[in-house]
């Protein structure tokens, strides 16, 4: 999220063109800005910037974003540069833009709580007269803000939309739960949803130490009273994350570097398992009886909140089937849908997928629900871009109706076969996972976590002895996957815990080249034999049966480890191969497992040990990957 945040800042400062100059002049001349403290039901006031069109010839809707990243620029004469993004289309429709610092952040009063739990029992208060109940959450703050806006800003049409990306995506989800009748359309984009199971800071219980440790020293520093700035805490003096994180060692040592002033960091260390504390912070909890029209948006290659986008939509469908809820997933990194969308890293998409999203999906969505303009007939239930074939598909449900689960079995000699179960009596592969030499998550030396690792070439990994690689024969037909992928490994390990990472990879033909007219990153990377990461996910082994109650492995005992990888939308084209890689570290993306059953947040450097890992592929113990094959 920090990454996204900084990108926004960069965008503000560096993008400029003649057309934008014209637009900026237009925006400044046609809008007035109001800075307003809006009181919440408990008396706390939230700082809010409201950009109001001068046009009073018709009534206008609100489009609001609630953010922990500041509603800067502050000052009634300083305008946020709406003209630098596609949001300018809303300005041309005279939308009233609202940005609000959430409770306890920047210029707002109150206490900030990370991913503040949704409070179901407060609902009664919401239906009561506002201000009677003192219990608050982000839903009630959204309610109170909306209520104030529709009552106090002149010339509004009584309709409110809310949107936001990443952490503001979480606040969009929470706004949707406010139940305020003026709120008619919400688009949570890459919404932070579950920080233990799949978003940002943990995936399946494994700590995403690099993202967390680079985010919190800034985001989490104390902020005792409203202010436009935060202090910067610890930062590494290194340009090589692999080296810096390896040298720092056990998580304990990171806590020492962080200091004790960052509340969420301390709390996180107290909750190594998916206990009630984490369960309360699952944003899906409140997705019942959702009233507004919902447009869930996410990126297939979003390193931060890919899980959140897919799974919030699914929870919305399941728990609130009556909601008018739709989903858009494109081939994007975190937030890429608001920028250039023709390629990510070395992989090209053949068209500007972001422009398609902006012009054909999001803008028509808000224009329809907030203005009654046009229609949404071009927005399907699920609007999904399939990489590989590079095409948008439209479905009536997700995963689509005509998906069949097919088993991809690991075999001997690195073979992988679809639906052919091995029948040999014995068969396994083995590697040593050494915490002193974890498998890098990407090849190049760098400090900040890249977003391109999500579709990087995996050849650097297949060349290591601690990475198992399996691949199919060259495909005779296209194979299209649509939905979640299940890894089902039969393993034994020499110690009491280990991580497992499964990577689904598209192996390009040896002579593959993109045509010259397909837009890419101009790096001329050798694409013949490219091993494109399509999806990867880690599983912290001790959580294999329960995220709440971890269990040790019995050394040498054959054990099943099964977990779900986030949904994919990808076509393995004829002439390509499907590859699976298995490894037990993914560094420093995920923290190293000491490979000992222990509370890892309390582990010492001396607890880290090598583990010999076996992955079985015989008739009785057939490790497999379950693929959602679209027919």
């Amino acid at each position: 999220m920090k990454k996204f945040f900084s990108f926004v800042v960069v965008l503000l400062f560096f993008f400029s063109s003649f057309a934008q100059n014209q637009d900026s002049t237009w925006f400044v001349n046609n809008y007035t800005k109001l800075e307003q403290y809006i009181p919440m039901r408990d008396g706390i006031k939230l700082f809010t910037s409201i950009y109001i069109p001068k046009d009073q010839s018709s009534k206008h809707p609100f489009l609001m974003t609630r953010t922990p990243y500041s509603c800067a620029p502050y000052g009634a004469d300083k305008f946020m540069p709406v003209w630098r993004s596609y949001k300018m289309a809303y300005a041309k429709e005279n939308f009233i833009f609202v940005t609000q610092d959430v409770r306890g952040r920047y210029m707002s009063e109150g206490t900030f709580v990370d991913v503040r739990p949704f409070n179901k029992n407060k609902k009664a208060h919401l239906n009561d007269a506002v201000g009677q109940g003192k219990e608050i959450d982000e839903a009630s703050d959204s309610y109170d803000a909306i209520d104030w806006l529709v009552k106090n800003i002149k010339n509004n049409n009584g309709k409110v939309g809310v949107t936001g990306t990443s952490y503001p995506g979480f606040y969009s989800t929470e706004a949707a739960l406010s139940g305020h009748p003026a709120l008619v359309a919400v688009s949570p984009q890459a919404p932070v949803t579950d920080w233990f199971i799949g978003d940002d800071f943990h995936h399946k219980g494994a700590f995403f130490v690099m993202d967390a440790f680079s985010f919190y020293p800034f985001f989490g520093t104390p902020h005792p009273k409203p202010s436009t700035t935060y202090t910067q805490g610890f930062s590494f003096k290194s340009d090589d994350n692999y080296n810096a994180y390896l040298k720092t060692g056990a998580l304990k040592n990171f806590a020492k570097l962080m200091g004790d002033s960052i509340p969420f960091w301390n709390e996180l260390y107290q909750h190594p398992n998916y206990d009630e504390w984490w369960q309360a912070r699952n944003a899906r909890n409140g997705l019942y009886n959702v009233k507004p029209a919902m447009l869930w948006v996410g990126g297939l290659f979003d390193a931060e909140d890919c899980f959140g986008a897919w799974n919030s939509y699914k929870a919305n469908e399941k728990q609130s089937p009556q909601t008018n809820s739709r989903i858009v997933m494109g081939p994007w990194y975190h937030g890429q849908w608001s920028r250039e969308g023709s390629f990510l890293g070395n992989v090209r998409f053949g068209s500007n997928t972001s422009a398609f999203f902006q012009d054909s999906i999001e803008i028509p969505f808000f224009n329809y629900y907030l203005l009654g303009k046009g229609n949404t007939s071009n927005i399907a239930e699920a609007n999904i871009f399939f990489t590989g074939e590079n095409k948008w598909h439209r479905f009536d449900k997700w995963p689509p109706e005509n998906v069949q689960e097919q088993n991809l079995y690991l075999g001997s000699d690195g073979n992988l076969s679809l639906n052919e179960k091995p029948n040999n009596l014995k068969g396994f592969d083995e590697y040593t996972s050494d915490p002193a030499h974890p498998v890098p998550y990407t090849q190049d030396i760098h400090f900040r976590r890249t977003r391109e690792y999500m579709d990087d070439d995996q050849r650097f990994a297949s060349r290591r002895p601690d990475v198992l690689t399996y691949q199919t024969d060259i495909l005779d037909n296209d194979v299209t996957l649509a939905g979640p992928v299940i890894a089902d490994l039969i393993t034994s390990i020499s110690t009491t815990d280990a991580d497992f990472v499964v990577k689904l990879i598209d192996v390009f033909p040896d002579d593959f080249k993109y045509p010259e007219d397909v837009k890419g990153n101009d790096e001329n990377y050798p694409m013949g034999g490219y091993e494109m990461l399509v999806r990867a996910e880690i599983m912290r082994g001790k959580f294999r049966n329960s995220f709440s109650k971890p269990e040790p492995f019995v050394p040498g005992k054959i054990t099943e480890v099964k977990w779900e990888l986030p949904d994919v939308a990808h076509t393995f084209l004829k002439g390509h191969r499907i590859m699976i890689q298995i490894q037990s570290s993914w560094f420093p993306l995920a923290d190293r497992n000491p490979q000992k059953f222990i509370d890892i947040y309390k582990a010492d450097d001396s607890d880290f040990q090598k583990a010999d890992i076996r992955i079985y592929h015989d008739g009785a113990n057939a490790s497999k990957i379950i693929l959602p094959v679209l027919k």
Partner: protein, 624 residues
């Protein structure tokens, strides 16, 4: 070697467009100032060698000959087809010599049968006993008699394979030969050049090169008609891993026994008579002809040859006029117009121009024309790290001392031996996942691997790392390096690669490369690396298996360096057992590797000891 050939073409290309010599901007300079003669010269056994001679049009003075003999073709052929440039550099072309190019025996338009690195015949008994020395001799004989206005002197030069032919003119030389410059000369293809290093086969270079060079011909031809087979890939690691044992190179799809040289390489997997005869060093005795031996510190092909040709002449000729030039160059880079940078190095000056103007041109002018002066030091050597030319009275310099750096536990490289017992590190070398020689995905062997950041290797659990504390003073090393370590392995053979690395703070690299994307973290810059095929540890002629589990001493000579590890840097050593596909994969079983099958390849667990009785170390030639 193929890389060199490409390089030659590039040089030609650059020259005609970017030369600073205004006269040569006229691309007809050669035609306007020289007369070209295409002819054949008959050798003592009746074989005719195709020869091209460029004679200066200005006949007011006499000229010496400057000769390059080559297996890569003397083209362009035909009296009226002039090369755009001639001679080893522009200054010499302007200076005017009689430039002679000759297709060597059995190559292109010359008659006869070609032999790989033709063995020298010391006691020739008849006119049938011919070699490169006699062919050069006979050529000189003819030239002196048939080309007018010569001054009776000749010089030879050449880079890479032509460097070998320059060296080969020295034993039994024609008396008219007065100056020879072997440059990156192919010298000993089992011990250190091109084909093998310490008995380990250089698969990547040779597979590519012999695909075109190793082709047979039916008779003299201007064109061999391209490669034998198509092996295009943009990822050589995958290609060779999928290819499997080297015997598979003889499948129908690839060499299919069509290349005589490839057949010979696979037939001679020890330092047998075939290779011994081809080691020209043994014949470089009492060489009094002035020699200028030239090589590049980053030459991936014939660094060994440069250093050891110089050394052989020096040791075996009490009276000599033997000079060494070692610059910061890749194979043949001294022939380029500009060479200021390589990898993340910035040398701060144009090192190739310095060589051409201040060394090569002066050398030939002085010894062939009595022009100018020649008071060059015995060894003109570029010191990397500090990036400056050094001038020494001998090579290696007199004032060096051998300093041992010991491997130690906890990844340390220490000045002291570890005095405990039974201290070791271990790794598993797996032929299914060999250590890549470079982090880059590439379709051919790159040159940059010689200076590449080794962090990609350090992150692997089949690579051992030993690192010194931060240096509190500069350490300059000048000369050869010895790795001397104790290993036990679980099988009967294994390769060992030792890499000497300069751990450079990133600020330093970024300061010299402001335009490039910034380098991050402590950069592990490769300074020197070498491989040893374990079974040859005691004897290249008679390989010996390892006894599984038994500790054996292995010594590897790494090629010379002249390098300063600066204050604030660290010295690092890495040890690994594969270097793929630069070197073919050792099956890790004692056997004839060219006969190995898929199922002969096995994992080997390697122990490297660092204790009281088995003090593994690297010995550096530290300059005082």
């Amino acid at each position: 070697m193929k890389v060199f050939l490409r390089l030659t073409l590039q040089v030609f290309f650059f020259f005609s467009f970017t030369s600073s010599f205004s006269q040569i901007q006229n691309s007809d300079f050669v035609k306007e100032n020289y007369t070209k003669i295409d002819t054949t010269i008959t050798m003592r056994d009746g074989i005719k060698l195709y020869t091209i001679i460029y004679v200066p049009k200005d006949q007011s003075q006499k000229y010496p000959f400057l000769i390059e003999r080559t297996p890569y073709s003397v083209r362009p052929y035909g009296d009226n087809n002039y090369a755009k440039r001639i001679g080893p550099n522009a200054a010499l072309m302007l200076e005017k010599y009689i430039f002679v190019y000759q297709d060597v025996r059995g190559r292109y338009m010359s008659e006869g049968h070609n032999k790989e690195v033709t063995p020298y015949i010391p006691n020739k008994k008849s006119n049938k006993d011919v070699d490169e020395s006699s062919d050069t001799y006979d050529t000189m004989d003819w030239l002196l008699k048939n080309i007018k206005n010569n001054n009776g002197r000749a010089g030879l030069y050449g880079i890479s394979y032509p460097g070998f032919y320059a060296t080969a003119s020295l034993p039994g030389a024609h008396p008219s030969i007065k100056a020879v410059s072997p440059q990156a000369p192919v010298t000993d293809e089992f011990i250190g050049d091109d084909a093998n290093h310490n008995g380990a086969f250089f698969l990547l270079d040779n597979f590519d090169f012999m695909n075109y060079f190793g082709k047979e011909r039916s008779g003299p031809t201007e064109d061999y008609g391209g490669s034998m087979f198509d092996a295009n890939t943009n990822d050589v690691y995958s290609f060779f891993l999928n290819l499997g044992p080297i015997k598979n190179t003889q499948s129908e799809k690839y060499f299919n026994h069509r290349s005589y040289i490839w057949n010979e390489y696979l037939a001679h997997d020890t330092y047998d008579g075939y290779w011994q005869k081809r080691n020209i060093r043994q014949y470089l005795k009492n060489i009094k002809i002035p020699t200028l031996v030239v090589g590049g510190w980053f030459d991936a092909e014939d660094l060994f040859g440069s250093l050891h040709t110089y050394q052989a002449i020096e040791k075996q000729s009490q009276v000599n006029k033997n000079f060494l030039v070692m610059g910061p160059w890749t194979h043949g880079a001294w022939g380029r117009n500009g060479w200021n940078k390589f990898g993340t190095y910035d040398f701060g000056s144009n090192t190739s121009k310095y060589f051409q103007d201040s060394l090569q041109t002066k050398f030939f002018n002085y010894f062939l024309k009595d022009k100018g002066s020649w008071n060059t030091s015995e060894a003109t050597v570029f010191e990397t790290g500090t990036n400056q030319w050094r001038h020494f009275k001998q090579w290696p310099p007199a004032n060096i001392s051998e300093v041992s750096y010991y491997f130690d536990s906890n990844k340390k490289l220490s000045n002291q031996k570890n005095n405990t017992v039974n201290s070791f590190d271990q790794y598993v070398s797996d032929p299914a996942n060999p250590v890549p020689y470079t982090a880059k995905v590439q379709g051919r062997r790159n040159n940059e691997y010689m200076v590449e950041d080794q962090r990609f290797a350090a992150s692997r659990n089949d690579v051992l790392v030993y690192e010194s504390p931060v240096l509190n003073e500069d350490i300059t090393i000048a000369g050869p390096i010895l790795a001397d370590f104790f290993a036990s392995i679980s099988t009967t053979d294994a390769d060992f690669i030792v890499k000497l690395i300069d751990v450079v703070p990133p600020e330093e690299i970024n300061a010299t490369n402001p335009s490039k994307s910034p380098v991050s973290g402590d950069f592990q810059r490769l300074v020197r690396a070498e491989v040893m095929r374990g079974k040859f540890r005691n004897d290249y002629v008679h390989p010996e298996p390892f006894v599984p589990g038994k500790i054996s001493e292995v010594k590897i000579n790494l090629n010379d360096v002249c390098h300063t590890f600066k204050r604030g840097h660290k010295i690092m050593v890495q040890v690994q057992s594969s270097w793929f596909p630069l070197v073919d994969m050792n099956p890790q079983k004692f056997m004839r590797i060219p006969d190995a099958n898929e199922n002969d390849f096995q994992k080997s667990t390697i122990h490297i000891y660092h204790d009281k009785n088995h003090a593994s170390k690297i010995v550096l030639p530290v300059l005082k």
